[in-house]
């Protein structure tokens, strides 16, 4: 029986289709362990060999990797949520209710999305703290620290834009207060210093541009939805690509 299975495996592995997809055997030899990193686009984020110190959990605590994993979880659960959610002020709240009480596993998807979002924000902070305490931002890694700060900002904005989408009281007022802060921006906000002198009005300042109106309403919901689901994740993806690329180029900072 095992002989038959082994023969079948050999048959499959030697087909043209199989060999067109997998270019090497199982990575249990040094050559294949190197090849798997060269030929797999996801694994290619790693170098072929890493320093022993990179494996020390008590150095990195896996924080950066877990943050990226949260982003992936958020993308997957977020796509599922998008199937049932319409960014319309008359529908949004009810859609969330449906997700919570009607759609199979809708509740789980929403809860996971929420928790992963919280976790991502917190993990970014922890990751940043770890990088600071281990001096991993020092030359030649200065630029990657800047990219990291950009990713921190993007994470916060992503989370904040998602906050509006359920269109409940929590959402509306958190965004109202947040956007009032935008209104207080110096020079380009109506109630900020020098705002009035620059000719800012409630219907032409930075908050108006952000919300697409003078109140948090339909256009604000739509804008936040588009930014949350498309604009910001794409931008974050670009920054993440640079972030990981720089780690590969500058090397791992940790001890041997």
């Amino acid at each position: 029986m095992t002989g038959l299975i082994e023969k079948l495996r050999q048959q499959i592995v030697s087909t043209q289709v199989w060999r067109s997809i997998f270019r090497h055997g199982y990575p249990d030899t040094d050559l294949n362990r190197a090849l798997v990193m060269f030929s797999n686009v996801i694994l290619h984020l790693h170098p072929v060999r890493v320093k022993r110190g990179a494996l020390k959990i008590r150095y990195t605590w896996c924080l950066g990797g877990l943050t990226f994993f949260m982003f992936i979880i958020l993308t997957i659960t977020g796509v599922f949520l998008m199937f049932y959610y319409v960014p319309d002020t008359r529908r949004a709240y009810n859609d969330i209710k449906d997700l919570q009480y009607v759609v199979y596993f809708g509740n789980l998807m929403r809860d996971m999305h929420r928790w992963a979002a919280h976790a991502m924000v917190f993990l970014v902070w922890l990751h940043m703290t770890r990088v600071f305490l281990t001096g991993a931002y020092k030359p030649p890694r200065e630029f990657n620290w800047i990219v990291g700060v950009m990713l921190l900002v993007l994470t916060l904005i992503l989370s904040w834009t998602g906050y509006l989408l359920p269109w409940d009281q929590l959402a509306l007022w958190a965004i109202t207060v947040g956007s009032k802060m935008a209104e207080a921006t110096p020079v380009i906000g109506v109630s900020g210093p020098f705002g009035l002198q620059m000719g800012m009005r409630p219907d032409n300042d930075i908050r108006f541009m952000l919300l697409g109106g003078t109140v948090v309403g339909q256009s604000a919901l739509l804008r936040f939805y588009v930014l949350h689901c498309v604009g910001l994740p794409l931008l974050a993806g670009v920054f993440m690509a640079v972030h990981f690329w720089r780690i590969r180029k500058d090397g791992f900072s940790g001890p041997l």
């Binding site: 362990r33 990193m37 929403r110 928790w115 976790a119 007022w173 207080a184």
Partner: protein, 276 residues
């Protein structure tokens, strides 16, 4: 195109074979150490990552079982929930709004935090402590960062756990459904206090508040310059001033909070354009 009369740049020895080698500028991080100090990413690193992801997934499935995502009443523009709280990660900023005007707490201070973080690698020129948890050789950097971090987290904890109805201070054992009597002490501007206490004209007091704010920064900038000359010289003029600006602005936050809590001062500086 090739000019055959040119002599080859590097003449070939017919007795040898040649291969193509790639030259890369800089030092490859892993080439500095012998290969015995490294391990293959597969399986060692990939397995650690896999386990971490597995662990995170389990946590993310268990957490929703313990507590789901909240959903309140449908949005309505005419009733503000009391207290109205921003997402927890912004509650530190919301707490700052009690002490500063919105343009400062909501725009300028967060902006300075972000820019300040970005310039960290350029003003911290201490080459020690790369790739290790090292406190003894970079005390100032670690203390400064942890101080800022502590401020951030303290404000968040206060915002999340200690602010109740009307954004008043509630202890966990207080009755959170009862409105607190508004404090009888009202907040006064620093210049008004000075004008009353020392009997000077309001305009003089106003000028003095400019001086006080200026002095806050001036003293902060001067002390390290005078007493830690090495520190100043190591950083150089530009780095030193950049660093001190961010440092003193960070210190301004607890300073303002303190004078608000102790002396009930609303604004410490009033200019025709903005108030701090």
């Amino acid at each position: 195109m090739a000019d055959q009369t040119h002599a080859p740049v590097s003449p070939r020895d017919p007795k040898k074979t040649y291969g193509l080698a790639e030259l890369v500028r800089g030092k490859a991080p892993s080439s500095a150490r012998p290969p015995e100090e490294t391990v293959f990413s597969w399986p060692d690193l990939v397995y650690v990552e896999f386990l971490a992801m597995l662990f995170a997934t389990v946590v993310l499935i268990v957490l929703p079982l313990l507590s789901g995502a909240p959903l309140e009443e449908s949005a309505s523009a005419d009733t503000t929930p009391n207290p109205m709280k921003a997402p927890w990660y912004f509650l530190g900023l919301q707490e700052l709004l009690v002490f500063f005007d919105p343009w400062l707490a909501g725009v300028v201070l967060p902006g300075l935090i972000i820019v300040g973080l970005m310039v960290v690698p350029y003003i911290d020129i201490n080459p020690k402590g790369i790739g290790q948890y090292n406190y003894t050789e970079r005390k100032f950097a670690v203390w400064t960062f942890c101080f800022g971090l502590a401020l951030w987290y303290i404000f968040i904890v206060v915002g999340v756990y200690l602010r109740g109805l009307d954004w008043q201070w509630y202890w966990p054992w207080d009755n959170w459904s009862l409105h607190k009597e508004a404090s009888s002490v009202s907040l006064i501007d620093l210049e008004v206090i000075m004008a009353q206490k020392f009997g000077m004209a309001q305009t003089t007091a106003n000028l003095l508040t400019y001086l006080i704010t200026g002095a806050f920064y001036a003293i902060g900038f001067t002390i390290p310059f005078l007493f830690f000359r090495k520190f100043y010289e190591a950083l150089g003029f530009v780095r030193y001033n950049l660093m001190m600006f961010f440092f003193m602005t960070m210190m301004l936050v607890p300073f303002k909070v303190m004078i608000r809590l102790v002396f009930n001062i609303k604004y410490m500086l009033i200019t025709p354009f903005f108030k701090i």
